[in-house]
């Protein structure tokens, strides 16, 4: 059993070498983790308290998270009260979110965050704490309605997550393509998105329809090789395309 799981791990690591961008890495990871019940993933470095919303978002390296939840999460500043984020900073071992329950049971705020996450299909999660070379604390979360993991599968996901994040950092450092060239309108839409505006609000400000906003966001996402609106904002900030 664990032999087979180990072989799958090695194959995953080998295949990662062929991924070309964050979107590739996400889809490989989800494909591998789906059979355990994981449908979503989020990975990045953990912001230090005091960082504003935009800085928080620019820490994200891999994003396949329910967008409505991300929006809500950052808008409400949940990150510094999220028990999983707290555990990433203090733990040296991967954990299932259910294992944190005894620690946050008495905090109504933390309980509410976890319950709300559940409403966005993030009921069960597995998080791997990591440390980057620069000494930043990083986390890699996989989540879904229900996760089922044997000890050896936990080990497998731990290794997969580590290599996937390593690959994402490497690809970011050595861009295989030149800095994305976004049109002024795409930049504008992203800039508003960075301010936390909804598609409708962005449309209002730019004098175009919601559909028009959607179109520009989609092409910006594609040009940046990113998987979501939040991830596109993060990447655009990193590349200095928006502020």
């Amino acid at each position: 059993m664990s032999r087979k799981v180990f072989d799958q791990t090695l194959e995953f690591i080998r295949n990662l070498d062929r991924t070309r961008d964050a979107a590739d890495i996400c889809s490989q990871m989800i494909q591998a983790a789906r059979r355990f019940g994981a449908e979503y993933l989020l990975a990045g470095t953990i912001p230090v308290p005091g960082e504003n919303r935009r800085q928080q978002i620019s820490n994200i390296l891999l994003d396949q998270w329910p967008p409505e939840w991300t929006q809500r999460y950052f808008a409400h500043g949940y990150i510094f009260r999220d028990p999983a984020i707290h555990a990433v900073a203090t733990s040296t071992s991967p954990f299932l979110w259910t294992e944190l329950e005894p620690a946050y049971r008495r905090s109504p705020e933390a309980r509410r965050i976890m319950e709300e996450a559940g409403e966005f299909s993030l009921r069960d999660g597995f998080t791997v704490p990591l440390v980057t070379l620069e000494g930043e604390v990083a986390g890699f979360s996989l989540a879904g309605e229900h996760l089922e993991l044997s000890p050896s599968e936990r080990g497998m996901l731990t290794l997969m997550a580590t290599y996937a994040l390593g690959r994402a950092i490497l690809l970011r450092e050595t861009p295989s393509r030149p800095v994305a060239s976004l049109s002024p309108r795409e930049c504008e839409a992203l800039q508003w998105a960075a301010e936390g505006k909804s598609e409708w609000e962005i449309g209002e400000r730019m004098g175009i329809s919601e559909h028009g906003v959607d179109k520009r966001m989609r092409s910006a996402r594609l040009k940046l090789g990113t998987t979501s609106r939040t991830h596109a904002v993060a990447e655009a900030i990193r590349q200095g395309l928006i502020s």
């Binding site: 799981v5 071992s93 000890p151 050896s152 080990g155 290794l159 580590t162």
Partner: protein, 210 residues
């Protein structure tokens, strides 16, 4: 600077090796609670500290601030004799593969937060310089998977030898990590200079044969 101590030159480093064994005891027994290594005299010495071991000491003004030990994979070492369960496949072995163990830094010289301190950087650079000089390209490491990302970022090409396992209260993973000039360049870039960290070998003491 990193000084390499082997059976050939250890008579020149008696006092420093004494410090090194005591540092090991303070870090691994007192701090990390590997109580099975405890020794009454406060010197942590095990069965692998024989004439084949290569000790690397970070020495500043006569004080040992950091230490690590390299063991040849062609002789008994931790993966072969203490933690064989961490290796699923055939055990890596060869003159170009050595095992890296007992890495430790005196608390005062550790990273603030968790970044790579100058002593930590020098110890890692020491392995790479030493390896590149001798045709050694790969090290075996047993560690908490938490640190794996750093090795990947340092351009060590790492391959797991098995899945992480729980040993005591720690998760432990065995990997091989292969390095090259890029690894060295990365470490130099991080510390901001390209000077060698390895001390030049001491002048050979002439041996008097009868």
């Amino acid at each position: 600077m990193i000084h390499i101590v082997t059976s050939e030159n250890r008579h020149l480093y008696r006092q420093e090796m004494e410090q090194a064994y005591r540092l090991r005891h303070r870090v691994f027994v007192d701090e990390m609670k590997w109580t099975e290594l405890a020794k009454d005299d406060g010197r942590e010495i095990d069965q692998f500290d024989d004439e084949h071991a290569v000790h690397m000491l970070y020495i500043d003004h006569g004080v040992v601030q950091g230490y690590q030990r390299m063991l040849p994979s062609t002789r008994p070492h931790l993966l072969s004799h203490v933690l064989p369960q961490l290796c699923e496949d055939e055990r890596p072995s060869g003159s170009h593969i050595w095992e890296w163990t007992r890495y430790c830094v005196e608390p005062a010289y550790r990273e603030r937060g968790r970044t790579l301190s100058p002593v930590a950087n020098a110890l890692l650079s020491g392995i790479v310089e030493w390896g590149l000089d001798r045709g050694i390209s790969t090290i075996i490491i047993e560690m908490n998977p938490l640190w794996l990302l750093r090795l990947v970022q340092l351009h060590f090409r790492t391959i797991p030898l098995g899945l992480p396992q729980r040993i005591g209260d720690q998760d432990v993973l065995a990997v091989t990590a292969t390095f090259d000039r890029r690894t060295l360049a990365r470490l130099q870039e991080m510390r901001g200079n390209q000077q060698r960290v390895l001390a030049e070998p001491e002048p050979r003491i002439r041996r008097f044969a009868r």
